[in-house]
């Protein structure tokens, strides 16, 4: 092996770039960048401003966060619905006025003042909501105008009552408590803010109103088609915005006890900056309360620090504007390009060296013949994608199809068929258990059981999550083949945890051990992963000792034996290595033998490409997905192997016309049935030396009762 190749091997062994794509595919990545920005800003401020973490400063900051954060949440709700509310600043001013007039001028009790404040917010929000939601006005321009209108109202009323507001102070301890009170060192207003934030988070992320809101913001027309009352949802978003703003105004009034001519001016810009900076997407539908809170804290830290650094107000305006431009720019580019970047970096090939075929001593076993060239065809054009075939004790033939059904062909001529069961996903590996139930691995769904009457029930669809895996590997993405141990445990392979079933060929380009072997135990009803890091584990079959199983690793072109019980429990060894093609399902044959179906043939080009991960990555980045390398699946081949792994016989379809790409076999009464996941037919070939009475079922489970 050349030194350069050793370097490549070590580089991809220890510095895999798989994680980049996996982290980008997580939804929390949207929040990661604002959080990092927040921590960085905080660090800088602590470094350059003395006493930044003093109690007084933090208390002050948390009170401001409470008011500012509530308004940010208000705006977040509206943006989530696909709109925008620029009138929050003026609404805030009007609500402050309402609170102070009720408390200071009219001397109303606290509850009445609160009601008046909330009612003001509600009315303002309702006007916006009706205009934008029901009259379908453009949100931006409409709230810009209501901003002017609410501001004008404030400017009309405030000067007439300014002296009355300052002239009297309300005698209410609760009012003062809300304004200045502290519980265990935490300001009361901050506690109120926290409570609102938690409730709102639950509503937005866990309850129906929140889901509807996101649906409307994410795709208005789809939401309408799904039966959501779009107009009402949008209207209510603005109403809630008004109410949250009113709460903020109430806290502000209690804290300051007065108001000025400039209350709330320019607030919409800083709140908008906070919300967008926090990661709420302006397109609607993407964002959370957490985003709003992070953004609010960030903006407040920035503006407060500038004040403490004695900068004039215009600097703060300049900085906020720049930050807003950058945040909006990033948002636009991120939303547009995230999927694009992800599709470019997710595919992460690794180094995989296959043994050289030319040095293999068993080349003569694989001499070409055309024994599959003339197979009988069953169900030509009627089945789509019969990955696995299996026969029951009455000689009926079962197979899964791409349409999500299991089809049954009736013995003896297999000319008539019926839909035996509808599952929904593409059934792949099939096996009968002792009771005669059909157990099926269903692509994208999990393992399902079909009773002899055709009733479908779920066996398992998840396993234990790995501790350090970035992507969620608890769900089963691509269960491929299964077999049932004599004690009823179901062993099944999951080919890859990184791709969906339709993308199985991309996993071939990666060549990494993305698959695993999983065991379902019916006694405890638990599912546990027993082997990880397998290279596209495919066929699984239990050996006749009842303590071990054979499983194929497709892209590694080898078959392994694994002991799950007995004295050698946990050991694993290679059963057959260096196959000329990619092994798929393995099935027991008569006389203690095994049938191995080869899905496709190795080619020198593909073998070379597997040793060049950099080449494959360039292919993935520069060429459209339908032009990528693809394993050669144009030939059909079935290998007959002995119990010790010696190759006894090989059946070829030389032209690749009648039965290419064989994914499974089933020997039954002297005949061999062939399935292929991309075929539209099932093959049947007579075995010259086959036992005319041998069936899988009798061989494994014994004679029927």
């Amino acid at each position: 092996m050349a030194i350069s190749e050793t370097f490549v091997r070590i580089r991809y062994r220890w510095f895999s770039d798989r994680l980049v794509g996996e982290i980008l595919s997580k939804s929390w990545i949207d929040n990661a960048i604002p959080t990092i920005a927040l921590v960085a800003t905080l660090g800088v401020m602590i470094a350059i401003i003395p006493d930044y973490l003093s109690v007084g400063n933090l208390t002050d900051l948390s009170r401001q966060v409470a008011e500012f954060g509530l308004i940010a949440m208000a705006l977040t709700i509206v943006i989530l619905s696909g709109g925008i509310d620029l009138s929050v600043g003026s609404m805030f001013a009007l609500c402050v006025l309402a609170a102070l007039v009720s408390m200071n001028v009219l001397g109303l009790p606290l509850l009445a003042a609160l009601t008046a404040t909330l009612a003001t917010g509600l009315l303002c929000g309702l006007l916006n909501g009706v205009l934008v939601g029901y009259l379908r006005l453009r949100a931006f321009i409409t709230t810009l105008v209501t901003l002017v209108i609410y501001r004008a109202l404030y400017d009309i009323v405030f000067p007439r009552l300014a002296s009355a507001i300052v002239g009297s102070t309300p005698d209410s301890p609760t009012w003062d408590f809300i304004g200045y009170g502290v519980v265990y060192g935490v300001p009361v207003s901050f506690l109120i803010f926290l409570a609102v934030a938690i409730v709102l988070h639950i509503v937005l992320s866990r309850l129906r109103p929140g889901w509807r809101l996101r649906a409307v913001g994410g795709a208005r027309r789809s939401a309408y088609n799904a039966g959501i009352n779009v107009k009402l949802t949008v209207c209510l978003a603005y109403v809630s915005s008004g109410i949250l703003t009113a709460i903020a105004a109430f806290l502000f009034s209690a804290r300051l006890g007065s108001t000025g001519a400039d209350t709330g001016i320019g607030l919409e810009i800083s709140v908008l900056t906070a919300v967008v900076l926090g990661g709420v997407s302006l397109g609607g539908g993407r964002g959370s309360v957490g985003n709003a809170v992070i953004g609010s804290i960030l903006v407040l830290i920035l503006t407060n620090s500038l004040i403490r650094l004695a900068m004039p107000g215009s600097v703060s305006q300049l900085l906020l504007g720049c930050v807003l431009i950058l945040a909006v720019l990033f948002d636009a580019k991120w939303v547009k390009n995230r999927a694009k970047i992800l599709s470019r970096v997710y595919m992460s090939p690794t180094y995989l060296k296959l043994p050289d075929r030319s040095q293999g001593a068993r080349e003569d076993y694989f001499a070409l013949n055309n024994r599959l060239g003339g197979v009988d065809l069953i169900g030509l054009g009627e089945v789509e994608g019969p990955e696995d075939v299996i026969l029951d004790q009455n000689d009926h033939l079962y197979t899964g199809t791409r349409l999500g059904t299991i089809v049954r062909f009736f013995a003896p001529d297999y000319k008539h068929s019926e839909v035996f069961a509808r599952i929904g996903g593409h059934p792949l590996g099939l096996a009968f258990d002792q009771a005669g139930d059909l157990i099926a691995c269903v692509g994208g769904m999990g393992v399902y059981k079909v009773s002899p009457e055709g009733a479908v029930s779920k066996v398992t669809d998840e396993t234990n999550r790995s501790l350090f895996s970035v992507i969620d590997d608890s769900r089963l993405r691509l269960p491929d083949d299964l077999d049932i141990a004599p004690d009823g445990r179901i062993f099944f392979s999951e080919a890859t945890i990184r791709y969906e079933m339709s993308e199985w060929a991309v996993d071939a380009l990666e060549g990494r051990g993305n698959g695993r072997l999983i065991c379902y135990d019916p006694r405890t009803k638990t599912t546990r992963t027993i082997l990880r890091g397998l290279i596209f584990p495919n066929g699984v079959t239990i050996c006749r000792d009842g303590q071990s199983l054979l499983f194929a690793e497709t892209w590694a072109c080898r078959i392994n034996r694994y002991w799950f019980d007995g004295p050698r429990k946990g050991q694993r060894e290679i059963f057959i290595d260096n196959l000329p093609g990619y092994p798929d399902n393995i099935n027991r044959g008569s006389g203690g033998t095994y049938w191995i179906a080869l899905l496709g043939m190795r080619t020198k080009t593909f073998d070379l490409a597997m040793r060049k991960p950099g080449f494959r990555r360039r292919v993935a980045r520069r060429v459209a997905a339908d032009e990528w390398l693809f394993p050669n699946i144009n030939r059909g081949c079935v290998v007959h192997a002995s119990a010790s792994g010696e190759i006894l016989d090989v059946l070829w379809d030389e032209t690749g016309e009648n039965h290419p790409s064989i994914t499974s076999t089933c020997e039954h009464k002297g005949q061999l049935f062939l399935g292929g996941v991309s075929n539209n037919r099932i093959g049947r070939v007579k075995l010259p030396d086959g036992d005319p009475r041998w069936t899988t079922r009798q061989d494994y489970w014994g004679a029927p009762q």
């Binding site: 720049c322 807003l324 636009a332």
Partner: protein
């Protein structure tokens, strides 16, 4: 059936009335005439030639700004940074002139600043895919912050002394007509020519009608977007110069006033839908005249400034409601996140 039968003349006049009231332009025109008649009857000073001239003069700056806004709005954009561009570029030019530059050079630097700002905003929208409203909203804040921090400290910037020819722009008259009005008229003709007779103008309408289609058919989308915002910034600078010369000074606080809403008021009232794709200079003139009548009437009636703001806001809101009823949003071409 019998009661619907009417004479042919009545029918045609009915059709005309229907036609007028079906378009927002017609409604505003009718309202403008009505407001004019009401003010003329109720306010004795209103209909005098002197007042009418003053009326048009007072709103011609608004009209000039609205021309720039109209260009951008027709292409389905919006430029809420016009006032910031106007006050900062003109103030900076005055500061430079006072600090020793010759007035001509200072004005050149001012116009370059405005053009650079316009190009930057345009690039942000064209290349950055930022919605125009956010780009210009943030840009306004940045431009004003930049100006107040680095270019000038005082809010009021007087025209540098010794430049009487400059004051003539705002205060002089040609054949008895104030130059402000003449400038508005000239700019109207110019923009009308650009919109109706140049490829740039046609593409502007195409982009407003359906941006995606304009792009696919091969319109130089990005350069045109940049050109539009450069044009609106340039118009803002011209308006700033005329404003400064008529008042002998420019006040940076205009940025915090409701002037930008007044511009939108003119554009939307005139009948240029915010959806873009339609409208012409005629609409700007109509909107300007209507807003002028409204403001002038209210000022003569001695209505408080804050209440004037309220009235303007409500009128603008009604105009937008009517606009959305007359030009409903097209679900085919309106995009997700198109606010």
């Amino acid at each position: 059936m019998s009661e619907a039968r009417t004479t042919p003349e009545a029918k045609s006049s009915q059709k005309l009335i229907q036609k007028i009231f079906r378009s927002q332009e017609g409604i505003v025109f009718a309202l403008a005439v009505a407001a004019f008649l009401v003010f003329a009857l109720l306010l004795p000073a209103f209909a005098s030639p002197g007042n009418l001239l003053a009326l048009v003069r007072s709103v011609s700056i608004l009209g000039i700004l609205a021309l720039g806004m109209a260009l951008v709005v027709i292409a389905r954009g919006i430029d809420v940074s016009m006032i910031a561009t106007m006050v900062v570029s003109v103030s900076w030019a005055f500061v430079l002139a006072r600090s020793g530059y010759s007035f001509g050079i200072a004005l050149l630097i001012g116009v370059s600043f405005a053009l650079v700002v316009g190009a930057a905003i345009g690039a942000l929208i064209a290349f950055g895919d930022v919605p125009p409203i956010f780009a210009t909203l943030a840009a306004g804040s940045v431009i004003y912050g930049l100006g107040r921090t680095f270019f000038f400290k005082l809010e009021m910037q007087n025209v540098p002394p010794g430049n009487d020819w400059f004051l003539f722009i705002g205060q002089g008259r040609i054949l008895g007509v104030p130059i402000t009005i003449v400038a508005f008229g000239v700019l109207c003709l110019l923009l009308h020519f650009i919109l109706s007779s140049t490829r740039f103008g046609w593409l502007t309408y195409a982009m407003g009608n359906n941006p995606a289609a304009a792009r696919i058919t091969g319109a130089p989308f990005r350069p045109i977007v940049i050109a539009q915002y450069v044009a609106s910034s340039f118009i803002a600078y011209v308006a700033g110069l005329i404003l400064a010369s008529s008042a002998s000074a420019i006040n940076a606080r205009l940025f915090n006033s409701t002037m930008i809403y007044d511009i939108l008021l003119v554009v939307v009232l005139g009948g240029i839908g915010l959806n873009g794709g339609h409208g012409s200079v005629r609409n700007v003139v109509l909107g300007t005249v209507f807003v002028g009548i409204l403001l002038n009437g209210m000022t003569i009636m001695n209505i408080d400034y804050t209440i004037q703001n309220l009235v303007k806001g409500v009128v603008l809101l009604l105009a937008i409601v009517v606009d959305s009823l007359v030009n409903p949003r097209d679900e085919q071409t309106s995009q997700q996140g198109d606010l």
